[in-house]
């Protein structure tokens, strides 16, 4: 795996290009993704067959098991946005393009997890509430806005040609957009919402088995996020190198 990034560089990195740290970290991506895959298989089996339903009087007790995927993916998306914000801040302070690439790749993963959250949430709501979406629900709306903000982040990056300017504008935008994470998280406590509150005294009626399954999914999705991020970062380095080679050949 990753034979190319470890091979001798044909041309030296140009100023402002991604540091060679990413290819070194990329070797951990496959073990992390495999570990995450195994935990996801285990979590899926436990969630579908072993965990008793929550004691919350859900009218669709089978669909309620979506909760385990939904929560794990939601937390992973928040982590991914937080990493995007941190990398954006580091880029603005240090100007290293590695941080810009990290922010972009983490934002892409945040959107993948967000898509998972929205699809699963809508499916669960269809069974539980009789409708896929409630526009009056603060948690649903704030999370959708957060997702659209980061769709806009990727669109913004495509709209700016100059790499330095693109990185600066995108970093500022990401920092502002990430402020929606605490708002989205706290929305069920600040406003009326039908969305279940996960952190409540008594734990929302989660049994020990349910708690363990939640833990497995949270760890699995976090490992998956880190593994895929390292792999995506390696791809970014490869894209850069191909671009550099292309310019050398043309010269």
């Amino acid at each position: 795996m990753n034979a190319f990034p470890r091979s001798a560089p044909v041309t030296a990195p140009e100023p402002g290009e991604t540091a060679p740290l990413a290819p070194r970290l990329a070797r951990f991506s496959l073990p992390l993704i495999l570990a995450a895959g195994l935990l996801l298989v285990l979590g899926t089996v436990l969630a579908l067959t072993w965990v008793p339903p929550l004691d919350e009087g859900f009218v669709a007790p089978v669909a309620q098991r979506i909760f385990y995927f939904h929560l794990g993916a939601a937390l992973a998306s928040y982590v991914a946005v937080a990493v995007t914000a941190a990398a954006s801040l580091l880029y603005l302070r240090k100007g290293d393009m590695l941080y810009d690439a990290l922010a972009r790749d983490s934002a892409g993963l945040a959107l993948m997890f967000a898509a998972m959250v929205l699809i699963e949430g809508s499916l669960w709501a269809t069974a539980e509430w009789g409708t896929a979406w409630r526009w009056e629900d603060a948690r649903l709306d704030s999370y959708l806005i957060l997702t659209l903000v980061f769709v806009g982040y990727l669109a913004l990056r495509r709209a700016v040609d100059d790499p330095g300017r693109r990185a600066r504008v995108a970093a500022s935008y990401a920092l502002l957009g990430s402020l929606l994470v605490p708002l989205s998280f706290a929305s069920v406590y600040l406003w009326q919402s039908l969305h279940p509150r996960v952190i409540v005294p008594g734990g929302q009626g989660i049994s020990a088995a349910g708690g363990m399954t939640v833990g497995i999914f949270v760890v699995a999705f976090t490992l998956l996020y880190v593994g895929l991020l390292l792999r995506r970062l390696d791809l970014s380095v490869l894209e850069e190198r191909v671009g550099r080679l292309q310019r050398s050949v043309e010269a």
Binding site: A3, F4, V10, I33, L40, T44, L48, V59, A60, P61, V62, A63, Q64, R65, I66, F69, H70, A73, L109, M112, A115, M116, I119, E120, L123, W124, T126, A127, E128, W129, G130, T131, R134, W191, Q192, L194, L224, L228, R231, R232, D234, L235, L238, E239, R241, V242, L245, Q246, S248, V249
Partner: protein
């Protein structure tokens, strides 16, 4: 009477005064609810005009369909025609989520009955929640509240899936796994494509370098 707790007279006066203030601030509403099930009825009145208002209040409210509440405004011998507003409010004591529907009507002259229908459109309350607080109220043309009464209804909506949501669970599981696998596949394919491109560019660069050496 040694050892018995004695309430200070000043404290008693304070309690009486507080009760009097609360009583003065709260309008005396004579509204009430009778019956149960399909015959549950809400009663309101405008005693100053000899008007009584009745409305049928089912115990369940199906939010999937339109719901109409027909208020029957009945006068007595001395009743004069007067403009009224009848109102149905959900969560009446929670300003953040209280929602009301109302209609205006002119009451009867003398001992007669007029009807005023308040309609809640379909999907206005798309919830499945038991024992939700509601109120009905009667106000005059200026909006001054004449009478009201609280009651509760069970909100129902589209029936839950008979299988408990098995289809949704299966679709959700497939969606989660599908998204992860699609993203991993995209990364793998992009890696392969770029690596092949890089190797061909390296070869092109190497061969042009050798030709340059010759």
């Amino acid at each position: 009477m040694k050892g018995r707790t004695r309430v200070a007279p000043a404290f008693l006066v304070a309690i009486i005064l507080s009760a009097a203030v609360v009583a003065a601030a709260t309008p005396a509403h004579a509204g009430f609810v009778t019956g149960a099930g399909a015959s549950r009825t809400g009663h309101l009145e405008d005693a100053s005009n000899g008007v009584t208002v009745t409305v049928q209040l089912n115990e369940t409210f199906n939010g999937e369909h339109e719901n109409t509440f027909t208020f029957e405004i009945t006068g007595s011998a001395g009743t004069a025609a007067r403009a009224y507003s009848v109102r149905l409010t959900v969560n009446p004591h929670d300003p953040e989520v209280a929602t009301a529907w109302h209609t205006n009507a002119t009451g009867p002259t003398g001992a007669a009955t007029t009807e005023a229908a308040v309609t809640v459109p379909a999907d206005a309350l798309p919830y499945r929640v038991p024992n939700v607080p509601f109120s009905i109220s009667l106000a005059d043309a200026s909006g001054e509240l004449l009478d009201s009464v609280d009651f509760a209804m069970d909100l129902t909506y589209r029936p839950p899936p008979a299988d408990g949501g098995l289809f949704q669970l299966a679709a959700g599981t497939v969606a989660a796994w599908g998204l992860v696998l699609l993203y991993a596949l995209y990364l793998h394919r992009a890696h392969q494509r770029l690596r092949a491109r890089a190797e061909s560019l390296e070869r092109a660069l190497g061969s042009s370098g050798r030709e340059g050496d010759k």
